[in-house]
Subunit: 768 residues, 2 copies
Amino acid sequence: MHSQPQQSILGVDTPQVTARAKVTGRALYAGDYKATGMLHGKVLRSPYPHARIVRLDTSAARALPGVKAVLTGEDAPAALWGAHHKERAVLARGVVRYCGEEVAAVAAISDEIARDALDLIQVDYEELPAILTPEEAMDEEAFGIHPGRDNVGHRIAFERGDVEAGFASADLVHEATYTTHSQYPGYMEPMATVASLDPDGRLVLHTSTQAVNLVRMQVAMTLGLPISRVRVVQATTGGGFGGKIVEDDNQLLAGLLALHTRRPVRLVNNRLEDFQAACASVPEHITLKLGMRKDGTIVAKQVRIIAECGAYAGLSGDVMHVSTMRSDNMHRNPNVRAEATLYYTNNPPRGAFRGFGGTQMQFALNSHIDTMAQQLGLDPVQVHKLNALSTGETSVHGWHIGSTGLRECVDQATQAIGWAEKRQHPNGQGTKRRGVGMAAVMHVSGNRTIGNWDGSTVIVKINEDGRVFIISGECDMGQGAATMFSQIVAHELGLPLSDIHVVAPDTDVSPVAVGTLASRVTMSGGNAAIVAARKARDELFALAAPRWDVAAEALSIGGGAVFVTANPEQRATLAELARQHIWRHGGGGIQVSGSWDPKTVMHDDKLYGNIAPAHSYAAQAVEVEVDTETGQVTVIDSYVADDCGKALNPVAIHGQTNGATVQAMGWTLYEQLHYENGRLANGNFADYTMPTADAVPMLRGGFVETHDPNGPYGAKGASETAILPGAAAIANAVHDAVGVRITDLPITPEKVLAALRAQRAPQGAAHA
Amino acid sequence: MHSQPQQSILGVDTPQVTARAKVTGRALYAGDYKATGMLHGKVLRSPYPHARIVRLDTSAARALPGVKAVLTGEDAPAALWGAHHKERAVLARGVVRYCGEEVAAVAAISDEIARDALDLIQVDYEELPAILTPEEAMDEEAFGIHPGRDNVGHRIAFERGDVEAGFASADLVHEATYTTHSQYPGYMEPMATVASLDPDGRLVLHTSTQAVNLVRMQVAMTLGLPISRVRVVQATTGGGFGGKIVEDDNQLLAGLLALHTRRPVRLVNNRLEDFQAACASVPEHITLKLGMRKDGTIVAKQVRIIAECGAYAGLSGDVMHVSTMRSDNMHRNPNVRAEATLYYTNNPPRGAFRGFGGTQMQFALNSHIDTMAQQLGLDPVQVHKLNALSTGETSVHGWHIGSTGLRECVDQATQAIGWAEKRQHPNGQGTKRRGVGMAAVMHVSGNRTIGNWDGSTVIVKINEDGRVFIISGECDMGQGAATMFSQIVAHELGLPLSDIHVVAPDTDVSPVAVGTLASRVTMSGGNAAIVAARKARDELFALAAPRWDVAAEALSIGGGAVFVTANPEQRATLAELARQHIWRHGGGGIQVSGSWDPKTVMHDDKLYGNIAPAHSYAAQAVEVEVDTETGQVTVIDSYVADDCGKALNPVAIHGQTNGATVQAMGWTLYEQLHYENGRLANGNFADYTMPTADAVPMLRGGFVETHDPNGPYGAKGASETAILPGAAAIANAVHDAVGVRITDLPITPEKVLAALRAQRAPQGAAHA
């Protein structure tokens, strides 16, 4: 009975290791937590986009039996919070700046009593004029939403190469403005936190989050606690999509209520509250000017972005930064100029969202390339392939392209959709017209922007039964980090997946981690897991080698055992070795830590520098049907080709890709936050129409495996890229189908009908 | 503003770091845990010391509304458990072997329903003959308590030197038999466990324990789970005294009930249950024969021990082993012989207890030396000092004496008590006679007996506020491990104690630890903490040195900062450096692990070898008053001199010493488990008379700091030694006071009166 190294699990379709707990209902989301003496939190929110709080009387609420705390701005710490600008109060102080802003927080012995208490809080507001669009915000006469400041939240400007010379050398210069709107993250689980005090009086949060360490930092800093007096444990997290990084007041309010009541407090957003409290994505007006030679070579690019962060900037400036720059790194064009300004308004705060600003700009750029290619009589496929940077090249912003499968993605997606036959051969029957469109995009795998560290540390612990624990602070919010970690460690140590257990991130014991953002976890976390697993393996080899009087190099690992490569009958199980490692002189057991940090740099003050260790690419081709009678656009086929370097878990990436594709469809065709004078009118899933199964075709896709030199086994990030091309691919297909160009998202039936009418009208009839 | 290295906290009276949580009632004992859907466990115990279970009908109990499980031996795993002999069923299978044995376990939605369910379980027993004394057990005609085996649980025999020659060379040979009884651990918190399943279906125990890893091993092995499928977290533990190492069925039953019901189950012993379930100490009959020259030199020692483990051996064999051997290592005598046998009976299982067998033998040995000294006209003080091994010597069993303050302890204690004036000058008024007695003892600091590892691993994590977490698997059950760890790390990193937080032991994330036994934690855990703290310090130094262009050796740490020793104004706070350590190329934060394992050996098959890295010594002198009318013995003065190497926390050691002194007084004078036909008759604190404040004099004590070369800063174990001398010191004082020698513990008024009567009676009157 000797062991053969088992088949590696890398690249094998692998169900999520978290799936069993979730489908059996045993997974513990923060909303499932119960604790002795636990109170229920509720938040009173501003009904006005801008108002002065004239009177705030909580006495009736406080007097309600079962109410344990009613807190207002006066009870909250003076410290303001926010990712960059510390400008947001935990509870409003004197003024509210958006409809939904937190005015008071209640903790009571039941959810019902807490709700009743909200009704008993008397607030007199003096309504103030509200700024509801960036245009109003930039008016020189406009009041400052934040006292003593203008309404600019962030500004970016750069110019590289000779943009004017570039435009002068172009055969075609085209300029257009694209408008993108805000999308609600739409995760299954609204924000939820249970805050309590541990026996030492430290504040403990079990919370839905993508980043336990960022939450700990923010909560400690804002609530005025030393960071060590705060513990953040990730509860099972039902989706994040960028919305659960660190921009939510939920954790701060739960913590504040727990500190005041000295009791556990559960604060779970209902869906409406989550719509009001979550940061939706950043809406941008993008004016794009591109110069192209007649062969399709892009020779100059100029971008002007007006973005809106709502009342508080949060991460919106970083999002706009990505919109401004990232797509420049797709193409060989050396002449780029950009100017972007983020404006405050009295709308709810915007922030991080899957794609992180890439989505907005890729809609503009890919729409633009489609338009210009057509004007030049070129195939946009060729334009993309012609301009694409190749592996080994450095982009205009100093990004080193370690691997790129952009061209292959373009080919794979368009071929799959029947591009050659269908493009510019619109067909269909009667009022149902069909067309195809494509778009090609890039994303980063990691990003050295928070401090100067983009690394990760993973602890591998081998137990006496030969099974392994993985301890990391990187969060799985459904995207599959736990499965990825498990696969890597299982592969390195030759174990079945069932022998691996991933411990939930906990700031008390997990190594510090940046968290799950910028598609960085497979890259940095995965590489750290390899380092840790190999350290553990080396300890096993060092322990085992003397058994057979061989060098460690003569050993292999697999099938749950270490064995002599040349003579696999000489073997010892991991369980046996793990026990031996403990119970010996100088023993203690295998619990090793591995770290990895990419050799990237922070960009310099001119925003130049290689910030990401690798870049993912994707192309999407779609076929749509446009009903010229109703204006309704239906996606009838979609294929996403994904250069994720190496697909460690194909089925998981397909799932992520499909989810991203649907989320992009929602943004492009269906979802829209409706505000009436700054007040959200459709904060529920009946009125905020996310795509349902009947709206989605059988989604197709494939991989382009480029094996990035920095990635773990060549892998790159694979959960965000696929959201980037959808909007442009659909818009381009609509244009292919019916010849109208929608530049203002979402592509609603009304807009399509209006464009069709304008198209049919005789030239000049628009003035009629 | 520059930092001066602050005063070290080592050697400074330091309140327990766990004290605030305990005195405010916030500490979470297992009995305080509540969990969603939690059930309450109860255990039905055998009313007979030996019986066959003829019929066991649980149907009525199962039918009671609110009852979720009624388990019997048929539901429990077939695997038997026990420290050495796997002989004990989780729930009795067909036969019960002691009164109190677990027959059935219930889980119900309330404690009341669980208790009612117990009443509804119908058991028909066929009572069997019971063996209730070792004498019955050793009868050749006796039945075997465990089928197919004789009633011997363990046997030890050795002989070194030439014992017969030794006796032949002696001027006085004295033999006597001493009888010691069983003592209930008497901790404040009875055994308690909350068992639940985590979302992955793993079994999680929050439990009162001294050793999370030993519990995990035992639970996994017995319940048939891979060890990685069990997680053990130490709840706040209200005392252990050896009784919470790994000999209790509580954790197994709680786990079994949780596995069956798939719900959390809390199983808390009430005091009677705890009396029935806890392992009390091992009762021993010790026949000691000592040869002494007329100058007091001990030249030969022969020991015969008959010990009783009750129905299941547990750790009793190890306890007996210590009784047999440890005291040999106090004296230079090369001629020792011992024979010890552990017998099963149908009494409740016995096991580990503070002192771990040392107490029994030291009662005999110190009583014996007192007697022989008197017969030779010597002062026992001089006999002890004459025979004591000195630092640097090796004992008859191969123990290297790295440091000993035995002589100094003897001097300090006896001088403090007024030995010179009071010894052999009994005084008092009327029927109240006073006398003084002393005893001198040794203990180990660590013991290489479990596997071949007696080491420890400690993780030190420096947070971004410069505060530190300590992660270890070594348990604080009230004795002060958390404070010791905190002091050491605070000292090494120049921080105030309030900047240190000790994370509760948790087998998922803590490094493997043997646990708190054999007075090993200050030794192994403390040394590991030094290693870890210095690693962390070295990382800080390496990071800071380039700031001032100096070598790491030029730096110091203190006052919460690293600074240039020669120019303390060049400084950086730990907070600043901890953040820098994270946010930089190759960063990630300081989380380092330190290990230490003593250079001891496991004893060989002749029980020879240096098993402990250091040895603690103590001497106690007491003055007692004996009421010759009532036989009542009252301790009116007590002084314990403690060689703990270096007193890291004097007030804590005084607390431990005083507690041990009182526990020894209880064993010697007051406490006695009364059985009526194998059934415990006084399992409560009203009838089991532990000493109360009125029985205890103002306890005095002092340190002899010998600075052991292996100990952390010279420290040795200090929580167990002080329990060892009490019984003999009191017995010797009684003899000094009234001339009667009680060799049969406890020293009850009845025994004293009987002895006084016998003393007063004319020679031969005993036959009358």
